[in-house]
């Protein structure tokens, strides 16, 4: 107990990658722009397999954007992340699917830059750009695994994690935090006391915070209970994703795939029914439209 | 022998003495530096003085109010405050700090809760809660201030004051103080070589202080049309058709609120459709309500005299001097005293909203935990018994009066229309009609002699709810009035007592009219009837002359 990886993005990189293999700021020969210090990006190897890594550094401040520190993803960070993903796609463009390099996201971020300049210039665009780049990388067959080691909170988790093929998280004894808003905040908004919300969340994981609840909803593929297992687990998932893609089942992974997973785990059953009903209803009027 | 002679100028000598002590604080002319303001107050105010502070409905001598809280309690204490409005936290802080102990006032607004708390804790003694005209009257009878802390836009070094757009209460406050040998101190936004116009002559002013910040004005009369509901639109349609058109109401006052804002915004649409332009709503005693802009621009309104100003309306008002009262400098001259007098005697109708109406028709904005006061509504929301001029509306309302003959025989006498707009239930199911007013509880809790009632049932002529209009003045007994109230009280505890056959009879007699009786189509009662749907539309109507405060700028 007491063991935590909170704020230790760089340490996590060294635990996950093969020793000494990480080269920061480089995607092969390409050098990333020297901005966004909160985003640690580079290339290394994981059990001998070349991977690209994108992680958060919670120990630095962005000197140009004062609200960006402690792992916050600011505009520079997000665009730098997007650039790295697009470069990776470009560099592997002509490779067969099984050789598209995997991308490992190491997630420990509390949010996006909450500032005036951020709103003026579009923080939403920056993280939106990163999300699109990840979705595109998946389309090209790059396996993406997100490994939550600390905080995966709301909008920042949306951009740095939720577009991955598979999402893994250290279990809650490592003080991981996955939520949109802590339960206290939810209690304020819904005008309920925390005790009754806690009680309710036992039967309905839909608003509670924590890795366990996300797991039930299909929001996570696997919980990792030992830091030393991160490397093995990530490697195993990369292999699985390659296999899925090779079999033409890429929809079993990623956000859509996690929707199916949610249903299997009994967490988001209504979602499935809604989609089926919409399909059926459209089928009845399809003639008029196509 | 001087010592034995009766002195007839002790007030004057006292005044001279206080001013002499303050002379070292004067920089030039009548100007005192802001840094010496607290010292000045400590010098010229003595324990047990009656002190007035503006304290208006809108503009606030906020700097002087803060300074008064900072005086040494050893030197200044037991002040008796006399002020129109208790609006700022500092207005009550001065009691918390035991500098003042008693207050006579008219309106409490945002401080209503804290005031009630202070009364309960014995921190404050209330002399009386007045209407504006009562308080202004008593300034000249038995509540004459020793020191007046006033506020103006600008001053020159001789002390001439420009009160400009928000003149409000300043003339009455200064006149009462100055001519009874009191001391007048004015905070101003700036000191200039020449004021744009002289609202208060310099020799009525003793000290002028340039405040570090411009005085605070609350945009109290701005209602964003975006927040007007369908049910308010319905009531507004009923008022226009069932009252304004019915009586040919030409001169009137609108209380502030979304209900009356809806009426203003329906004039150019629904009013136009009913062919009422030029027949109703020509003369107002009213602040420059932004929601009246579309009606003004469409040529409905001939004249508006104002109690005060309204943030953002200065340029618009200046450019419409045919309608508003404008000085030679092109800015509005408002005056609460004159406008209240006009509102009491000069108009045919008052209409406003309230919090609770009881089964007899008495209404109040008080709750057990709030002392909100009265402001000016009771003076306009009553039948002015001293009125002698007649008008079509006044005569008609008098003719319909069900009790008049039993009191004065067959002599014709008119009657002011006093209309209350009431939603049967407000948000969170708070009922608009109650068996007993909360004002009773407040009277007990705050040790008031009588429950604070805004408008007494016998002054009320009409109640308008979504259910219909009750023409109460037509009733010939209290029993009948109560039945009429029940008929429009909807599903409240009062309304649930309604007896269908009774209501049917009242509808037949024209004492109760439902929207259906009035020929109003419920399905048309929605926001699309509004001439402006948001503040931006009002700006557009004004040709860009209305400049709303930032908090209303949703674009």
């Amino acid at each position: 107990m007491g063991m935590t990886m909170l704020g230790k993005g760089r340490k996590a990189i060294s635990m996950i990658l093969d020793e000494g293999s990480f080269v920061e700021g480089k995607i092969d020969e390409y050098t990333l722009p020297d901005i966004g210090p909160g985003a640690v990006i580079g290339t290394g190897s994981l059990k001998g397999r070349k991977v690209e890594v994108i992680a958060n550094d919670a120990m630095v401040r962005n000197p140009r954007f004062p609200v960006v520190y402690s792992g916050v993803i600011g505009m520079e960070e997000a665009y730098k992340m997007a650039t790295a993903v697009y470069k990776m796609i470009e560099l592997d463009k002509n490779k067969p699917q099984e050789e598209k390099r995997p991308l490992v996201l190491i997630v420990d971020t509390p949010g996006n830059g909450p500032g005036k300049v951020e709103e003026l210039f579009g923080m939403n665009k920056a993280t939106g750009a990163y999300q699109l780049s990840l979705a595109e990388a998946r389309q090209h067959g790059h396996p993406i695994v997100a490994m939550i080691i600390g905080r995966a909170i709301s909008g920042a988790f949306l951009c740095h994690g939720l577009q991955a093929d598979h999402i893994l998280s250290l279990s809650e004894e490592f003080q991981t935090m996955i939520h949109v808003m802590p339960l206290a905040g939810i209690a304020r908004i819904t005008k309920r006391d925390i005790e009754s919300l806690t009680e309710l969340s036992k039967t309905n994981p839909v608003f509670a915070s924590g890795a366990g609840f996300f797991y039930k909803l299909g929001g996570l593929e696997e919980l990792v209970h030992n830091v030393d297992d991160m490397k093995e687990t990530i490697d195993r998932h990369i292999t699985e994703i390659y296999k899925c893609n090779a079999e033409g089942n890429s929809e079993k992974c990623g956000p859509w795939g996690r929707g199916t997973l949610g249903k299997e785990r009994g967490g988001r059953e209504t979602r499935y029914r809604v989609i089926q009903m919409m399909y059926d209803e459209f089928a009845r009027v399809e003639e008029q439209y196509i | 022998m001087e010592g034995n002679r009766k002195r007839w100028d002790s007030l004057k000598r006292d005044r001279m003495e206080r001013i002499r002590e303050a002379i070292p604080l004067v920089k030039i002319g009548k100007i005192v530096e802001a840094s010496n303001a607290v010292k000045l107050l400590e010098t010229v105010i003595k324990p047990y003085d009656k002190v007035t502070i503006e304290g208006d409905n809108q503009k606030q001598a906020d700097f002087l109010a803060d300074c008064l809280c900072k005086v040494d309690r050893e030197q200044v204490h037991h002040l008796h405050m006399i002020q129109s409005a208790i609006s700022l936290p500092s207005h009550l802080d001065v009691f918390e700090k035991k500098i003042a102990s008693k207050v006579d006032f008219s309106y409490a607004g945002s401080q209503a809760n804290r005031l009630a708390q202070f009364v309960k804790e014995g921190k404050i003694e209330i002399g009386a809660i007045h209407t504006y005209l009562e308080l202004f009257g008593r300034y000249f009878i038995d509540l004459t201030p020793r020191v007046a802390l006033t506020v103006a836009v600008s001053a020159d070094k001789e002390g001439n004051l420009y009160t400009g757009f928000n003149t409000e209460d300043t003339p009455v406050v200064i006149e009462a103080t100055k001519f009874k040998q009191g001391i007048v101190i004015a905070q101003v936004n700036e000191i200039v070589d020449k004021v744009p116009r002289v609202d208060i002559p310099g020799d009525w002013v003793d000290f002028v202080i340039q405040a570090p910040q411009p005085f605070y004005v609350e945009p109290l009369f701005t209602r964003d049309p975006a927040n007007i509901t369908d049910s308010q639109v319905l009531r507004a349609m009923m008022v226009i058709k069932g009252i304004y058109a019915e009586y040919g109401i030409q001169s009137l006052n609108h209380g502030v609120g979304f209900d009356t804002a809806a009426i203003e915004l329906l004039l150019p649409t629904y009013g136009e459709e009913l062919g009422l332009k030029g027949k109703i709503c020509k003369y107002f005693a009213l602040n420059p309500h932004p929601t009246l802009i579309p009606a003004i621009e469409s040529g409905w309104v001939e004249s508006i005299h104002s109690f005060g100003g309204e943030s953002g309306m200065a340029d618009y008002v200046a450019a419409r001097s045919d309608v508003f009262f404008i000085g030679p400098d092109d800015s509005l001259r408002s005056n609460r005293t004159y406008c209240q007098a006009a509102g009491h005697y000069g108009i045919d109708l008052f209409i406003g909203g309230t919090l609770q109406i009881d089964k007899y028709g008495n209404s109040s904005t008080a709750t057990a935990s709030r002392i909100a006061g009265f402001g000016g509504a009771p003076n306009m929301g009553c039948d002015p018994k001293g009125r002698r001029h007649s008008s079509e509306a006044w005569i008609k309302c008098g003719q319909e009066d069900g009790l008049q003959r039993s009191l004065i025989g067959d002599l014709p006498r008119g009657r002011r229309l006093v209309v209350q707009l009431q939603e049967t239930f407000r948000e969170k199911m708070a009922p608009g009609f109650v068996d007993k007013l909360d004002a009773w509880n407040l009277a007990e809790a705050a040790n008031l002699a009588i429950p604070p009632v805004m408008i007494y049932g016998d002054d009320l002529t009409h109640i308008v709810t979504e259910e219909g209009i009750a023409y109460l003045h037509k009733c010939s007994s209290l029993e009948e009035r109560m039945a009429a109230i029940r008929a429009v009280a909807g599903f409240t505890e009062v309304g649930l007592e309604e007896k269908p056959e009774e209501t049917k009879a009242l509808r037949k007699k024209g004492i109760v009219k439902t929207p259906e009786d009035l020929g109003i189509d419920l399905s048309r009662a929605n926001r699309s009837m509004l001439a402006a749907k948001n503040v931006r539309d009002l700006v557009e109507w004004s040709g860009g002359l209305y400049h709303p405060p930032a908090k209303f700028r949703s674009w």
């Binding site: - | 319905l234 948000e427 199911m429 709810t465 599903f491």
Partner: protein
């Protein structure tokens, strides 16, 4: 504090008119407002209503408001489902009348 469900059933007026559209929806569940779904239902003229609301303690008021609607409009063979979000009794009354009016217009146009 869960949402509560109220169910009512009203006898129609003697000279009632049956609700004819298969279904009609009106309103938005905004704060202080409600939506209603009206469905044609053959049930000996009865009007049945299901109300889902976060507000407690107003069951009788609901009954009165809905009863008045049935009496005023002389409608029958109708099932209504109301999702309420703190609408006042008058708003309920007005929305129902507006909805019925629109529903008729829908059929005519």
């Amino acid at each position: 504090m869960a949402l509560q469900e109220l169910n009512f059933s009203f006898k129609p007026e003697k000279n009632f008119t049956s609700f004819t559209p298969e279904w009609f929806h009106s309103g938005v569940v905004g704060s202080g407002d409600m939506e209603v779904l009206m469905e044609r239902r053959k049930q000996d003229g009865r009007v049945t209503v299901k109300v889902v609301t976060p507000v407690t303690g107003f069951d009788q008021v609901w009954e009165k408001v809905l009863g008045k609607f049935v009496a005023d409009t002389k409608i029958g063979n109708l099932h209504m489902e109301i999702n309420d979000n703190n609408a006042t009794p008058f708003i309920v009354h007005m929305r129902l009348k507006q909805a019925l009016f629109e529903a008729k217009g829908d059929v005519e146009s």
